[in-house]
Symmetry: none
DNA sequence: TGATAACCGAGACGGTACGTCCTGTCTTGAG
DNA sequence: CTCAAGACAGGACGTACCGTCTCGGTTATCA
């Protein structure tokens, strides 16, 4: 059942891999994803084209891995810098405040022009190419999602979220609209919007029956 | 001070335009958007390439117009078939039921494999190309959004939605998560999910204080 | 029975054709045939690669045509310069002298370093590729051969060559050894050698019976 | 002052060498010389590419050696089969008949489709690459030429060829036209042609003065 | 009798050129 | 003027080989 033509990854050149990541990221930053070519990446990385085609199935796959590598390096750096490893959504007891904090951070990140082009490009590629999409979701989205789920479960245990709520769906109620606005650029993405979403989601749209 | 190179649209060939729409849609359906080329569209439409370049700025623009045209034709057909023109979200008095109805329809539409490829392609293009994205949002998303806003305002007047709620944000609370799941394929898109969203959005995640 | 994909030669760019000829000849002169690439020819000619692939089946075909064109232009120039058009082997009545004259000229031409590289390259290509070889023979060799045949026929009429001799074979008796030496570089190619060939061929190797 | 990178030929793998010869010859036979690659030879021979690059400077050199080896093996086989080793042109006393015999054999050999492709390929390579050409001439052509020279010298001693004839040039008068026809495919190569060449060469083209 | 060189198979590497495809522009001839 | 047709310059595609290199794994002398 082994792949007949799989290259021998033990002999892979680490130097080339890193150079390809760097070249891909810089070219996408400079010219945009559409104008970035495999040929251009190879040239800037000082690498033969075949070395890219040998290890990646597509331009999108290269960029995705480069992105993931960037994240991993940042994580390692953070860990080395003293943090206790796993980042978590804070739990101050005030769920609304905690969620607003992280959603505002997400909003800021999405509005950061540095990351905008490559992130949009990857998202677009993932929308069309299921393979890329799955990897994108698994590697970039899922870890983030898990944080929300943990915080929401804690909230359920603390009694501030109903027990019959599915944390996953609850998370999507918060992040879905933000991603939607960012992707489709329908309306500006602001801190106020993030706050509104938290309030609406936690308390619902229907009026509360008045206490007696 | 008119555009020096603007073609004279009064002399435009209607037949060619329709042939281009048909060719574009069929080719995207057969081979996917990425493998569809302007040359291929021109060939299948029996049209010179210049005729496409003269009237559209990009492949995405062609497909977008083809899509809009499809919608318009469907609308005209529906109108001719007897309906009173403007479609609306029903108002039975039961907001939750009404919303579930339309959200389930949206889910079905998004799951329809016929429309999947071109819709994803357009969405992806819109994510990367702001021009396309704006037109996409204005022509395809906005009319749909307006229906929700109207229905939610009616609900506010009826007192089943709080007055301080922004209908636009409320709408995004419902459709955002659905679009998000569809685009990123994180989890399957079902009627049950649509129902949950309505319930969560209307009632919130936090427990209601007990009536006295 | 028409070719399905034949390009329309009436719309062919004369300028590009000439530029391709010039580029091909100069590159072969500079770097040799083997190191001359279609890509290089296209680049120097300021032409798209497809323009070469559209009109020629191979690098050898390009060079062959370029060579033929060179000959035609030289011929036109000569004609314009006053000559009476068709060049002929002179007929002074002394066959041996006349043949030595042209064979010495041929030797000089083959020893000319300017023409050596491209001519060898074309000959080599023709040896391997029958199509090229046939065109090479027809366009470059045949006209030359016809001159010999005419001169030898005149010699037969004048009674200095036996009537039962095939002029074609006779010609090959003269040129074959020269071409052979040139191609295979077995021994140097000199005027003396050319003279010997004429003497040997005209008088034979066997001793003449003594006159009475 | 020895070559710093010369491999140690005493440790050379005989098995690999033979496998490379066999692979080279079979691939040239199957696909032609141009489509035969060093990589392909190595793969079929079950040999690393470096083993070829270590011992041969070029593809042509590999094929040339393979060819020579073929000839040597044939010679050894012939010797073992009883012959007295050195082959010679027969000397029956009738020079014309003897020459016709060997020239007809040469014609048959050149017309043998089995040897055609590789022989043409080698000849073509030798025409362009002087190094290969020299080796080709020395190893394959020279031994053959020596046979002619010996037979012609014997003819001179017997008085059937004039003493002032250069045997080498005389030989070229016979073989040159045949090789020429074969290489350039101008006209078919037949026994009759070989016979004519012998007659023309021996007796010359000019009429003999009538005996008194 | 190990050390220590070589050759060896294998195949990744930086490159070059291939021949194909498509882009967006330009030109031609018909209507 | 628009249109169908398609040639053009340009350039990226993905593939095939080039010739070099590095990697274990056998041999096959020498210490």
């Amino acid at each position: 059942m082994a792949e007949s033509k799989a290259p021998d990854s033990t002999r892979r050149s680490e130097k080339s891999r890193r150079a390809i990541y760097a070249a891909a990221l810089s070219l996408v930053g400079e010219n945009g994803y559409a104008k970035t070519t495999i040929e251009g990446i190879a040239a800037r990385a000082g690498v033969g084209k075949q070395t890219i085609y040998r290890w990646w199935p597509s331009k999108a796959a290269v960029l995705l891995e480069a992105f993931l590598d960037l994240g991993e390096q940042a994580a390692e750096a953070a860990e080395a810098a003293g943090a206790d490893g796993a980042y978590e959504i804070p739990d101050t007891g005030d769920l609304a405040a905690d969620l607003k904090l992280v959603l505002r951070a997400t909003v800021d990140e999405l509005n950061d022009p540095t990351f905008e082009a490559p992130t949009r490009a990857l998202a677009a590629e993932g929308i069309v190419d299921a393979k890329i999409g799955a990897e994108y979701a698994e590697k970039l989205l899922e870890p983030q999602a898990a944080l929300y789920v943990r915080r929401l479960r804690a909230a359920q245990e603390a009694g501030v979220v109903r027990d019959d709520i599915d944390p996953r769906t609850a998370m999507e109620l918060l992040t879905g609209p933000i991603v939607h606005r960012w992707l489709l650029r329908t309306l500006p993405l602001t801190h106020a919007y993030a706050d509104s979403l938290v309030d609406y989601a936690l308390n619902g749209l229907a009026p509360r029956p008045p206490r007696h």
